[in-house]
Each structure stands twice: as C-alpha cells, then as structure tokens.
Amino acid sequence: MILSPAIIALEAGAVLAAGYAAYASAMAMQIIQGWDIASGSEQQLLLEKKTYLISTIFAWLMAYQIISLFLFSYTAENLHDLFVGAMCAAGSLNVNDYGYPTLVLKAFNCLLCGIWLIVNRTDNSVADYPLIKPKYKLLIGIAVLLLIEAIFQTTYFVQMKADVITSCCGMLFSETEETVAGGLAALPSYPTKVIFYLSVLITLRVGIHHYRTGRAALVYSLSAAWLLILSIAAVISFIAPHFYELPGHHCPFCILQREYHYIGYPLYLALFTGGIAGLGVGVIDRFKGSPSLHAAGPLLQKHLCLLSMIGYMLFAVISVYPMIFSDFRLEGY
C-alpha cells in the first residue's frame, strides 16, 4: 500500500460511493416490493419520497464516477515513477492484476450510472412512473458493480508495492523481478483509421435519420455502442500517437497530461457523452411499449440522439485536428 493523498482520496470516495449505493439499493428493494402508484397510503407516500433521495444519490454518484475515473487514471500516471519499468499510467496499472479491471469497471459503471439517470429522467417525465421496477432492478445491479469496483480498487492499491531503496545487503533491485512495462496492443493504424471514420459517418447518418423520422432508434443505439468501443481502440491505435507525435507511443492516458494541453479531457468527455446518450436512445426504445411514454419517449430520444451526435462529432473533430495541423505522419506504422 502506498499512502499517497490521491490514493486516500480515491479509497475514501470508493467507500462512500459503495456505501451510498448499498443504501440506495436497500431502498430500491423496498420500492420494488411495496410500490403501488394507485394507493395513497402513507407507505406509498414514503416510497415516493424515497425516490427523490435515490435520484439525488445517483446524480451525485454519476458526478463522482466521472471525476473518479479521471482521478484514477491520473493517479496511476502520477505513481508510475515508483515502479521499475513503468513509463506512464499504462505501466502502473500493470503492477498487479487489479489495475486494468478496476479501470474498466470504473468506465463501465460510469456508463451505467449515466444510463440509469436517463432511464430515471424518462420515468419521471410521466405521471404513472411506468419504468419504476426495471429502473430499480437496474439500480441494484449497478450497486453490486460499484461494490465490486470498490473491492477491486482497494485490492489494487493494497497490493501495490513501490520499488524503493530498501535492503541493506546486496543489490537493491532484484533481477528476478519482472518489469511492469505496460505495452498496449494497438491495432494497425491505417485500417483502423478507415474503419473508424467510416463508422463515424455511418453513425451520424443513422442519427440524422432517427432525428428526422424518429425511426431506427435501435440501429442508432447499436452503432453508437459499436462506435464507443471502436473509439477506444482508435485512441490507442492512432489518435493518441498523433498527439504524441511518436509512432510507438500508444498510451491512452498520457493525453490527459499538461504536455498535451489536457486534450484528453475534452476528448474523453465527448466520447462518454456520445456513448451514454447513444446507449440511452436504445434503452428508452426498449421501454417505449409503455402507453404513457408514447409522447414523452420519442422526444427524449430525439434530444439524446442529438446530444450523442454532437459528442461523437466533437470527438472526431478533436481526433482529426493533429492529423491536419501537424507534420507528423503515422502511415507505415
């Protein structure tokens, strides 16, 4: 365990978040069992009041998740100089088996919290709360994942040992110890570029179609989900190297640093906006069958679709920028 302020902050945050998520899911359980919108009983009134608490908690958890995701990768970056062979965050995440799983879980939970808030918003927009039960079942799932995330993160930090000057005898470094150089498998740049920009165009085309006609929501959502995964691959494969102007440097974290003008923040925020809103379109589509959502559902979908397209467009524009305005060429790598 390394006792750095960032780790203390992340751990304290994780404990709080997991605790609140557990608390919220206990209430969700009560709501799933006792909900009866038609009744005016005190029990029902109390449950309705509790929905406000849960919504508030999740709004905060969402905000927390986003900051903690960035903070986590930045902490890994910040600690890399404590490990032999770790050049940046990619290396520190590799020091034990829990680094990358924690990061992936964090990103995934971030998406889920966003989707939950979208479902919550949809549900609250009509008076009979048609999604109340699926919504709270999803919430319990998210709470479990948040708990797992907290455990993974704690294990990651606890098992972390800095390679510092320690022993009094012999050499200080041991040659048997494996180094943690974390190379990331990158897809070949040229084909990835072609597929990525084609996918962006297709997604935007589908999005415009959906925005105009209200149809093909599921198709848009699927293509947005595909684009989300592809975008992360693209960052590693060619977007990040273009910012570094180094063909071999594929780290998706270093772009968050000052040397690259913190360009990673807008880049990833745009990506997450695009992804969450895009997935939201599909999730609402799944529930559109509910009669009361006939009016409100499609309208919300349209807004989300627009938001999602703006997010992806921004992402694409930021990713194109260094290719146009710098002399660096990645072709051939």
Partner: protein, 228 residues
C-alpha cells in the same frame, strides 16, 4: 371547474390516534366567483382546502380539475399543477423573515424557470396594485399586519393562478383591514379568478362579494347556500 366526489381524508389511519377530517365530500365549484367554507375550527375547512389545492392526497375519493383527475398524481406532478393553478394565502401569512417584500413576493415563481426580470416586473406591478410599492425593499418583519397580508396576497398571485385559496384571511385583522381585504377579493373576482376562502368570520361570509357559502361540521357538508 373543480369537482370532488366522495372525498375522505383520514390522518394516521389504522392507528389508535386515527382521525377522520373529511367524510365523503361531494362538491363541485364553478370557475370564477368566491366560495366560502364556513364552520367552527376542527370542522375540516383547512383540510378540504389543502386537498383541493393538491397539497395533500385524499385517503379515498377523486378530485377533478377542469375534467382531469388530479387525485393520484405523484408529488412531482402535483407540485406542477399546484404551482400553475393555485395561489395560497395562509392564516399566519407565512412570510419568510429576513427577506424583503419583493423577495417574498417572488418566491413561488423561482422554480418555474421564468425569466428573473419578468418575475420582478410582475411582482412590482402586483405590489403597486396592492398599494405597498413603497415597502418593496423592506424586510417583512418590519411590516404591519395589513401590509404583511398584502404581501402574502401578492405572493399568491405571482404565478397568475386561476384559483386563489385563502385560509382564515381575516384572523389577525381588524374590521377596517378586513374590509380592505374584501375589496381586494372583489377585485380578484372581477378579474375572473376563482376564490376559495375558509373562514368563520361573519364579516366574510356575509359579505356581498361572496357567491356561495358551504358549511362544514365534523368533516361533513351540512348545507350549501347561495346568497345571491
């Protein structure tokens, strides 16, 4: 048009201190005009007003507002309806101490998302109409009873509600101020607002401005009279 059918309200149901405040009320109130609910304290006037005003849900029965049922609305939507349709004047005025007359008047409009300048303009107009524009920057605790009452009225009108609900508005006023209040009520009526008043003050329910008086006792309606 407000319609109540078989509305009952029980506080603390199923417990030893259960108390039935309203017993199967059937009532229909037309748009426009002044309706007074009279009866001794504890007769259920206030409860009836809060049930009509979407503040509390009835235990049984249904309420319709212009033909739409508002009985089972969750709080989120009940609040919206309440904010758009009703303005409230409370017995103790219930102004927020430490804030100015203007701020107090504007409070109900804050969550509506209307433009600030627009709200402010509307509040100033109302305060001018109620003749307390000179007190605008004053803190409410420095006002006299009548001025507080007027501030409360201005606050009730800020969102331009169709229905104004007043609970014992003359409880803390002398005769002269009560007459002034009646004048204001009459003006509102002439503007086409529906006014519901709970009062056991003869000055009110014998006033010429009143269109209808509903008597309550022990949570039941005992008779309705239409003076004119």
């Amino acid at each position: 048009m407000i319609e109540l059918s078989q509305v009952s309200k029980v506080f603390n149901p199923g417990r030893h201190n259960a108390f039935t405040a309203l017993h199967g009320i059937d009532l229909s109130i037309k748009t426009g005009g002044v309706t007074v609910f009279k009866g001794p304290s504890g007769s259920g006037k206030t409860t009836l007003l809060s049930v009509i005003g979407c503040m509390a849900r009835p235990t049984t029965g249904r309420i319709f507002l212009d033909g739409t049922e508002i009985t089972g609305l969750p709080e989120r939507f009940a609040t919206l309806t309440r904010r758009q349709t009703f303005g409230f004047i409370f017995q103790n005025y219930n102004l927020i101490r430490g804030l100015t007359v203007l701020e107090n008047t504007m409070i109900p409009a804050y969550p509506t998302g209307r433009n600030y300048q627009e709200i402010r303009q509307r509040a100033l107009e109302l305060l001018e109409k109620l003749k307390i524009e000179s007190k605008v920057p004053m803190k409410v605790e420095h006002l006299s009873g009548g001025e507080q009452q007027r501030t409360a009225i201005a606050r009730a009108l800020i969102n331009d509600p169709a229905v104004v609900i007043a609970d014992e508005p003359t409880a803390h006023l002398d005769t002269e101020l009560s007459m002034e209040l009646l004048e204001i009520v009459n003006d509102l009526k002439n503007e086409g607002k529906t006014i519901l008043v709970a009062s056991h003050d003869p000055l009110i329910f014998e006033s010429t401005a009143v269109d209808r008086v509903v008597s309550l006792r022990d949570g039941k309606m005992i008779d309705q009279e239409t003076p004119r």
